[in-house]
């Protein structure tokens, strides 16, 4: 539930940032920092689950291996996300990309066939 | 002891490359060096940097030696660049001495 609310707010920010009159430097800094740190966190959060799931379902890695691999990939994802967001020429593009990528990862993590058996 | 040889060898290599950097030319040379000298120093510089890997390999093995070589490049680099700011000519000339010392230490050790 919290994750969906967070995702929804990211989309809202993306839409809002599209206004042409967004000239305040402070707003840019806040937006960029939030997108990089918080948006990047959300992407990384779901990347972990998605990678682990893919590794186990499709890559047939053992769960321990998959967990550790997901950690390594999360490292690359978070670093890359922050750099990419700050390199982006427009914040609107950055927020939209975060929203889209997060949705994709959530989809993989939640909906990929082969849900783990009940404990 | 091999590490000392690596250090001197890399120092010599960096000194050679430092001497032919465009920015440092007026600090090091009293009259501009000929193109042949510049080319020779460039080759010598890179060669000495590469050769400095050998004592590291002799001291350890390939993976550990390579790690040590990379770190030693930093060490030799610092040993050159910071004194260079105080005495450019002498620190570069010391490169020649260092090259000789590198060979000596390797032979003795």
């Amino acid at each position: 539930m919290r994750a969906i609310a967070l995702w929804g707010s990211i989309v809202a920010i993306a839409v809002r940032n599209g206004k042409a009159s967004d000239t305040s430097y402070t707003r840019l800094v806040v937006s960029r920092t939030a997108a990089a740190v918080l948006g990047g966190y959300v992407v990384t959060y779901w990347a972990g689950a998605a990678v682990a799931k893919i590794a186990i379902e499709w890559g047939s890695l053992s769960p321990a291996d998959a967990g550790m691999l997901s950690g390594l990939i999360q490292l690359v994802v978070y670093t890359g996300a922050i750099i990419w967001v700050c390199a982006a020429a427009s914040m609107r593009k950055a927020w939209l990309a975060i929203a889209v990528v997060t949705a994709l990862l959530v989809g993989i993590a939640v909906l990929l066939p082969g849900t783990p058996p009940a404990p | 002891m091999y590490l000392l040889s690596t250090f001197f060898c890399a120092y010599a290599g960096f000194a050679a490359l430092c001497a032919i950097t465009a920015r440092n030319m007026p600090l090091v040379w009293t009259k501009p060096p000929s193109r042949g000298v510049v080319a020779a120093l460039r080759t010598a510089g890179y060669l000495l940097l590469a050769l400095s890997w050998i004592p590291c390999y002799l001291q350890w093995d390939v993976p550990m030696g390579t790690a040590a070589w990379v770190m030693n490049l930093a060490a030799s680099g610092f040993a050159l660049v910071f004194p260079f700011a105080y005495a450019p000519k002498r620190s570069v000339q010391a490169g020649g001495v260092a090259a000789l010392l590198a060979g000596l230490v390797l032979l003795v050790g």
């Binding site: 840019l28 990089a36 966190y41 990384t44 959060y45 972990g48 689950a49 990678v51 682990a52 186990i56 890695l61 053992s62 769960p63 321990a64 291996d65 998959a66 967990g67 550790m68 691999l69 997901s70 950690g71 390594l72 999360q74 490292l75 978070y78 670093t79 922050i82 750099i83 700050c86 390199a87 020429a89 427009s90 914040m91 993590a109 783990p116 058996p117 404990p119 | 590490l3 490359l17 430092c18 950097t21 465009a22 920015r23 001291q59 350890w60 093995d61 993976p63 550990m64 790690a67 040590a68 990379v70 770190m71 930093a74 060490a75 680099g77 610092f78 660049v81 910071f82 700011a85 105080y86």
Partner: protein, 568 residues
């Protein structure tokens, strides 16, 4: 929005570098000191100083004889063998007749002298830089630990700065050897220093931060592990999170009393056992230097003897998990030597090995220390450069107040961290041994973690941490009230005084004075004292240079006079 990619990357490098650089300096400082943490651990335990160590075989025989005398009918003996090169301490654990755990921490010279000092020692520096002294309880990824995430975030920021630093350094090869120490602009001088330190050691910096983040990367945002935890794991596979506490130690819990693990088998009938010394020789031939051994049901017919190799061998980079088990009665090999790690863990073992630098001996450790120092100074120079560059150009009163604040934060981060570390070393030396934890373990857990206890109940390990944090607090207050340019010089001078004083205070504690240690040939202990002395002398030079001129004021025509703080 900045016009070019380089400008945007510069923004990222500057702001992430500044805000997280304050913490990153402390991390790098403690990490660099931690290269020699075993030696500092040895330095902190006076009972071990100058002792004449037995050979590994003699140590083994001595341990077996001791346990045979003390607990011949025990269900389990577990011994941590001393690391004779770096930190010799012999820890014997056993189960007594009520299956309660007993232990003895001994000087491995065969005299039977006990080591009663229980200290955070050098281990503090390792633990601080990834836990900030908060307990890290759960290493299987079920919970989020905020201090661990913070240290991870600082690491990610540093990684980003290494990458963006390369991107924004436009003339990186043309200016490879440039250090314009006499440039008119203070900013240029600091920038050149920052660049030289960073570029020459770039491969090391990139490697150290990447490896540091990588080997426990699954714990920062442990969603991957949580997802994996929902699947049943196949039998015989390494335990999730099995990197665990053992990963951090070059050898198994070299100081902490080991927990004698479960799975205790009922003892069989008494039967003569193969001499453990023989099994030791065989295991050593297979695995190299051994770090521990465990005997189940010694003196019975179902005795087993398990030898553990060092987690980190000095002759290989990669961490290993080697062990070998023998049948105690017949000497038959039950489980042979050979790594049993799975594929991904092999990668993290390489990363761990590279990061900790247990390999290669003293020469390698000096290289690590040198490059780590370069990184630490690089961060410091970056922080100072920020204020040097912007303070003179500050246009509004609000901007000037901000840069004043940044300057004071810089002093707290740089000077404070150093002052805290130096004070901690003084605490290690001067706190009474008698305050040590009588149970021989660490009440706060495996890692150096701070806990709130009333002062009369605080043990030595608690007080050491209190002094560290208190010293940092004092430095922070000092930075708050003094003018920055005075605060810099004063804090550096204070740290220099503490470091130079390290060999001196050794004379106040029995068996710690440098004179008799040189005579006894205990170079591990002497090295820490002398190292501190050298660093102190260098810091004293730095403090002297700082006191004769202002660090952050641009020479030449200032746009407006720098704001004077009330303390000036």
């Amino acid at each position: 929005m900045e016009k070019s990619l380089t400008q945007r990357m510069d923004w990222l490098h500057t702001w992430f570098g500044l805000v997280l650089g304050w913490l990153a300096f402390a991390l790098f400082l403690t990490g660099t000191i931690a290269v020699f943490w075993f030696e500092i651990q040895h330095w902190a335990q006076p009972e071990l100083h100058g002792a004449k160590m037995l050979s590994p075989e003699a140590t083994l025989q001595y341990s077996v004889d001791y346990l045979q005398k003390v607990a011949p009918d025990s269900r389990r003996w577990a011994v941590t063998l001393p690391d004779l090169e770096r930190h010799p301490l012999l820890v014997l654990n056993w189960l007594d007749q009520n299956n309660a755990q007993q232990f003895a921490r001994l000087v491995p010279d065969g005299s039977g002298r006990k080591v009663t000092t229980v200290t955070n020692g050098g281990r503090f520096f390792v633990d601080f830089h990834w836990t900030f002294n908060r307990e890290v309880q759960d290493l299987s990824g079920r919970t989020f630990q905020w201090t661990y995430m913070l240290s991870g975030f600082v690491g990610v920021a540093f990684l980003i700065c290494t990458i963006t630093g390369l991107v924004v350094h436009k003339k990186i090869f043309r200016n490879f050897f440039t250090f314009r120490r006499q440039a008119k602009s203070v900013q240029t001088r600091w920038l050149d220093a920052h660049n030289v330190l960073g570029v020459l050691s770039w491969p090391f910096q990139f490697m150290i931060v990447l490896t540091g983040l990588a080997f426990y990367s699954y714990l920062y945002i442990p969603t991957g592990m949580q997802m994996a935890g929902r699947y049943p794991s196949p039998p015989g596979v390494a335990v999730v999170g099995g990197g665990g506490p053992g990963m951090l130690w070059g050898r198994y819990a070299s100081d902490a009393v080991g927990k004698v693990a479960g799975n205790i088998v009922e003892p069989g009938n008494p039967a003569p056992n193969v001499p453990i010394a023989d099994l030791f020789a065989r295991a050593q031939a297979e695995m190299g230097t051994l770090s521990s051994f465990t005997v189940n049901n010694p003196g019975r017919d179902n005795a087993t003897v398990r030898f553990g190799g060092t987690r980190a061998r000095p002759d290989a980079i990669t961490f290993t998990a080697d062990s070998m088990t023998f049948d105690g009665a017949t000497g038959r090999v039950i489980s042979p030597a050979g790594n049993t790690v799975n594929a991904v863990q092999k990668i993290t073992n390489v990363f761990g090995g590279l990061h900790f630098g247990f390999f290669g001996g003293t020469a390698m450790r000096f290289l690590y220390f040198l490059c780590g120092t370069a990184g630490t100074i690089m961060i410091g120079s970056g922080l100072v450069m920020f204020t040097a560059k912007r303070r003179a150009k500050a246009k509004s009163a609000a901007a000037r107040r901000f840069y004043e604040f940044v300057d004071r934060m810089n002093v707290t981060a740089v000077g404070g961290a150093m002052f805290a570390c130096a004070s901690y070393l003084w605490a290690l030396r001067l706190l009474p041994q008698s305050l040590s934890d009588p149970t021989g373990g660490f009440s706060g857990g495996v890692y150096a973690s701070i806990r709130a206890v009333p002062l009369d109940q605080a043990m030595r390990s608690d007080l050491e941490l209190y002094i560290f944090w208190l010293a940092w607090g004092v430095a922070a207050v000092h930075a708050l009230v003094r003018a920055p340019h005075k605060a810099w010089a004063e804090q550096f001078a204070a740290v220099a005084a503490l470091c130079i004083g390290l060999p001196v205070i050794g004379y106040l504690v029995p068996n710690c004075d440098i004179g008799s240690m040189i005579a006894a040939g205990d170079w591990k202990m002497v090295a820490v004292d002398l190292g501190g002395l050298c660093i102190g002398l260098m810091l004293a030079c730095a403090a002297w240079k700082m006191s004769s001129k202002r660090v952050d004021v641009r020479v030449g025509n200032a746009v407006r006079a720098p704001a004077l703080s009330p303390a000036e």
